[in-house]
Symmetry: C2
Subunit: 273 residues, 2 copies
Amino acid sequence: MKIQISVCQMNVSHDKKINLAKSKDFITNAAAAGSQIAVLPEMFNCPYESSFFEKFAEEFPGPTTDFISSLAKDLSIYIIGGSIPEKENGKIYNTSYTFNPEGLLIGKHRKIHLFDVDISGGIKFKESDTLSHGDKVTVFETKYCKIGVAICYDMRFGELIRKMTLLGAKIIAIPAAFNMTTGPAHWHLLARTRALDNQVYFIAASPARNEKDIYISYGHSMVVDPWGKIIAEKDEKEGLLCCEIDLAYIEQIRNQLPLLKHRRDEIYKPENP
Amino acid sequence: MKIQISVCQMNVSHDKKINLAKSKDFITNAAAAGSQIAVLPEMFNCPYESSFFEKFAEEFPGPTTDFISSLAKDLSIYIIGGSIPEKENGKIYNTSYTFNPEGLLIGKHRKIHLFDVDISGGIKFKESDTLSHGDKVTVFETKYCKIGVAICYDMRFGELIRKMTLLGAKIIAIPAAFNMTTGPAHWHLLARTRALDNQVYFIAASPARNEKDIYISYGHSMVVDPWGKIIAEKDEKEGLLCCEIDLAYIEQIRNQLPLLKHRRDEIYKPENP
């Protein structure tokens, strides 16, 4: 089965209303182009800076999730809603909500691995100063196949992506905002290997690059096929990335190179020396 | 601590004696260049074709392992002895032996994942027709650090490389023989991501390419640093690849980007939904 995916590589401003209006434009264009699934980037309604997370945070349901839910229903499209700061019981999470074409919430992922890094001569960021981490792996049914969602730094942990695959995900979507240190060094590499190792379609959705931001996103949203080949990629600029994927190709690759069948789980366990 | 590694990208002929003599030349040159560790490729004493495995197979100890052991002692060098067909109790394994500078066996790895693939328009191979698989993860002490060894197709399984890392390996060496289908598509990608994900030095050692072979090896032996950067790479031709690595850099990278510390093991377990 062939379906079309759109990745919304949008600029994110300091004004939430502008961000929502922009996401509406992008998703409207995605639907008009014939896409069945639209993917927004990480923190699409809020600048990716620690000082903004609390100010922009919403409980669920809230204005942003209501907005995305309505949009999904009006346009009859699946929306993997990037991520937004979510508030609950005094804690803030980096959370992704997915709505189906009826406007119903079908997936919710709280970023599991928080981005606390300090790279010499490069990026320094400490999400755990302001954010709390999620504890659940996120895979849900759609009318096409199971889809898994995780957020940005989560994709560095092969164990998580593998578990999503073993739970049946055939498409794995990662709203993300790599930066100008980790982007050039690792973005393509990780997206390609996760797709290849797990023989899934891997969608990496970034905001557009804005050189004036404090945290500068790398851009280069992309879709990678189960052979590890990039089949669609944006540059760093704002724009919609549309791409057709063929779910039957997953089974072809899994038959030809039966990686998942060849796994030897008992050997990987810590108790086996 | 800085040490020098040599990867012996040698041609493998149909004559075992020629192969052993060639490996001696390569390792002698590695020692003369000042290397503390020399790495041979997969099936360095035997053509990589199923019909040869039984004919070339040896029990341990045997002529090939005795030869490599003596060489290690004479040259006072660690030798990660690629792999050879090993015979035991009527079974044949694809086995790697590592000897220390005293000529003692310190590591033995039997290939865990057998290469049974049938890629449309590309390579077809079925190791399990002639070979049996190993069941053990291989990490051993050296005077520099712990080293892990696995063989070729084993490197496609991130779980195995992760386990070697958690067992303390700082250098992971993979005698391998990717081919003209999987080499161009996946060789660099996998070597770089395994190094990056696990923040280790990753050594991928291939035979040289010989267009006349039935199974044509890809070549491109390489050494990748813990940031996922290729720091030394051969082309497809026969030759020695020498490269200095800095073990202190591993800790630098692990401090700056604490991937191993950020793992959330309890979430990856199958029983956690």
